[in-house]
Point group: C3
Chain length 360, copies 3
């Protein structure tokens, strides 16, 4: 059941899975017709008659009435909210993800090295790997089993990539880095480039050699054009299960704790330490040398300029205005110091006034 | 009249165009000597004696006095603001753009496939295309007429690129995407990488297969290192005439309406819907799942955290301070809730005071 | 003394340098045992018994007590703060950088052109250059002596790269650009792509040909996936000694003055002029057409929306809040205009009240 046609016509997989079989595989309570055949997954409002859909949040409940899905995944709270075939389960969205992985598997690894790839004799590339055209693998590099290196990939000297990792076309990994197992790295990602480290002397910048590594754990996804710098003297470390979106910049000596997820265009300055299960919204800036504890959520575009030691959600976004209103507001924002001073003076004056009046 | 020398010496094209001939071609009212020869275009203050210049805004009018340009483009309001040869026209800047395109044409397509490119036998690449060295075009890809794929380009399975599109060196397009006609895509752009979609289960992230496509209309320009993710279940869509600057991130299932223009480093989170003729300044963040109506302008660095249903310009930028002043202001910005509370109390106290005094 | 093993095991260079010899080479006052052998540099808290460390800031002084370093670099103020071998010098951090460069030299250039590179017969590539596999060097390009172009590099027509410059794998430089001597350009950088220039006409965008160049001075470092656009009509200029981190966007016609340093993800809009010795923190936005004078420091994430004519540090960062507090604060930030109005009214009312009371 490989499905790789264009999605817009929602082409059904040539054969599908009976709902009953999905329940055998993934669990949950089946209610209704277990013989219906599932060929694709889709949101409630986009599902076709061969699709399994899901209710992840109660506010989409009204879509249950109009969906064309042949079956749905529901939490126990909504088990009777529809008459169509359904599976009641603890986490419909995760269940849906697993069914989608079954229906839309990653391409099978096609072992072999393209004749137009260059693999240094001193590199270790198992026969189970798939090495694309124009790939360069340097001396001492070590690939695990079933690693896929897409066209134009570059793997530097002594860099290691773990079993079942997949580098899409055009990924560059500098020398002496470590990528764990089951990584998925998207095109244009650059791992292990020099961190930004200079000493100042008489107005000139003297480069500090960046001799640390980039060390990346298992089950990490790295988005397109994301950059992860090598460490200056110690390593830059990304722990297991971290998910990085596109165009993220990870500075030297940063550590990102396991299972954290970071959205696009976030910049993480050097030596920042980010805990486990942290979530960071798009375009946020994490300042250098700060620490964020586990289970913190940072809203998009927020500047984390000091450490956070308590789990929770943190936000620092200036609301937006119609431009004319902002022109006025901007003046006041600039003058907030003055505003506060005047408020204090008013408080004092009123207090004085009241006191004087009381005397009279 | 091909001009491709370095610009700093403003080398004249070997031959030029008489002003009279430009007016025949592009219209406008010619005043003065139509025989002057134009070899280049330039701003008023940088123009040489072979250059055509233009007055786009009245506040540059004083530069008309000192310009070395041999001719200028003027709006009707300024038809007599200079004695040099001139063309009066409705939109001098657009007129100037057209003349510049004539004087600085894109390189002619040189049909043929470099022997070091790899074109899968199952791909369709017309003889009129120019395919550079080390390009990879996968099975089922379909190129239109006169498509240019620069060195190191990658076009995935079943992806289609329309007539007269030009991919500069190092562009990567994943499988099953659609690029329209007359696209210009700059180096390092990645189109169709996976969107950022995961379900959470017991602290782990479960990947949701990204089975939608990236579908891009006609006459779209995509800047260097910009990323446009494929859709999760439906498609990511960029409509006709959209212009994207460098290093923009377009998340999955985003739609960008026709003729919108977006400046560098903007991040557009998943499922955002952006209208037609929208302009977005650099480094802005558009939150996920919001809608921006047509003809909205967003200032640079503004965070659009909720939908905008009325055309107009919107801004949310914190002004900057000298650092010492910001240290004080920052405290007050953090305490604005307290500031407001104290203001309310003062208002109440003063009101009470007045009322009491009135009684006495 | 080449050291290129992984850093985590802090493998010592096969042979090292006696402290005495380092002092002969780099100066400073030697105190203690000059025979100790230095094989690596490291921070005080990570140093091993073959390492030289340094005290750059007084607040790390306590680490002198516990460090395992065999020698340290100290300012005169701390000459007696430890008993271990030491070098007293004016700028310990810069001294440390120089020692690290000695211990961790860049790889020696291996002259020669890989047979799978394509060098146009009309390009000039001295025999001292190292040209990697799958590199493309176009007609008229001119390389200086000992230039390294890593795998998958692309150098466009008539572009020049100065002596001893090093382009890591996957760098793209468009036609007609200039890179100075001793440049270090990281993977994924794109130099000379079109600036973002369009004229508007009837709702459509008309492209303005970008005929300027990108001109980059000597001793410039350009980070991974950074983009430097070519000029529209004049050039984009980056002066000597500038250091650019990763994922920076430099728009057309920008000028960056000598020895300025810019951190990751900064966006510099078109025609901005940045002075010499300027430092810009990560994710800042520099608006178009503004001027920043010499020796200005901009904090991360600050939006520089107008020119700065006085040296100093400037900041515009909204502090972050716990999310619940921000929800309240955000309302007040939006209403700051109202807040100011109410404050003014209060001031007036109190003034009136006092005046009236004084009359009675």
């Amino acid at each position: 059941v490989v499905r790789d046609g264009p999605s817009s016509d929602m082409a059904a997989a040539p054969q599908g899975y009976r709902l009953r079989d999905l329940v055998s595989r993934f669990g949950g309570e089946l209610i209704g017709d277990g013989e219906v055949v599932i060929r694709q997954v889709a949101p409630l409002d986009a599902a076709g008659p061969d699709s399994l859909s899901f209710l992840a949040r109660a506010d989409y409940q009204h879509q249950l009435l109009s969906t064309r899905a042949v079956a749905v995944l529901l939490p126990a709270s909504h088990r009777d909210a529809t008459a169509i075939a359904r599976v009641v389960c603890g986490n419909p969205y995760a269940y849906f993800a697993r069914v989608s992985q079954l229906l839309n598997p990653v391409p099978v690894v096609a072992p072999g090295t393209d004749p137009r790839a260059i693999v240094h004799p001193g590199a270790i590339v198992p026969a189970s790997c798939q090495i694309g055209p124009f790939v360069v693998i340097e001396d001492g590099a070590v690939l695990g089993e079933r690693v896929v290196v897409g066209a134009h990939g570059y793997i530097g000297e002594r860099t290691a990539v773990g079993d079942d990792s997949r580098l899409n076309p055009g990924v560059t990994i500098y020398r002496d880095c470590r990528i764990g197992r089951r990584a998925l790295v998207h095109s244009g990602a650059v791992i292990g480039a020099d961190g930004f480290g200079f000493a100042q002397e008489g107005g000139n910048w003297i480069k500090i050699p960046q001799v640390g590594r980039a060390v990346i754990g298992d089950d990490v996804e790295i988005g397109a054009n994301t950059t992860v710098d090598r460490g200056a003297m110690a390593d830059t470390v990304i722990e297991d299960g971290v998910k990085l979106d596109n165009q993220i910049q990870v500075g030297h000596n940063v550590r990102i704790g396991a299972h954290s997820a970071i959205a696009g265009c976030v910049a993480i300055a050097g030596s920042a330490k980010i805990g486990k299960h942290v979530q960071i919204g798009g375009s946020a800036l994490i300042s250098g040398h700060i620490t964020i504890t586990d289970r913190v959520t940072i809203s998009g575009s927020t500047v984390v300029s000091k450490s956070i030691s308590r789990p929770g959600r943190y936000t620092g976004i200036l609301p937006f205005y119609e431009h004319a209103a902002w022109l006025r507001a901007g003046v006041h924002l600039r003058q907030i110091d003055d505003l506060m001073r005047r408020l204090k003076r008013l408080e004092a004056e009123l207090r004085t006034k009241v006191r004087e009046d009381d005397k009279t």
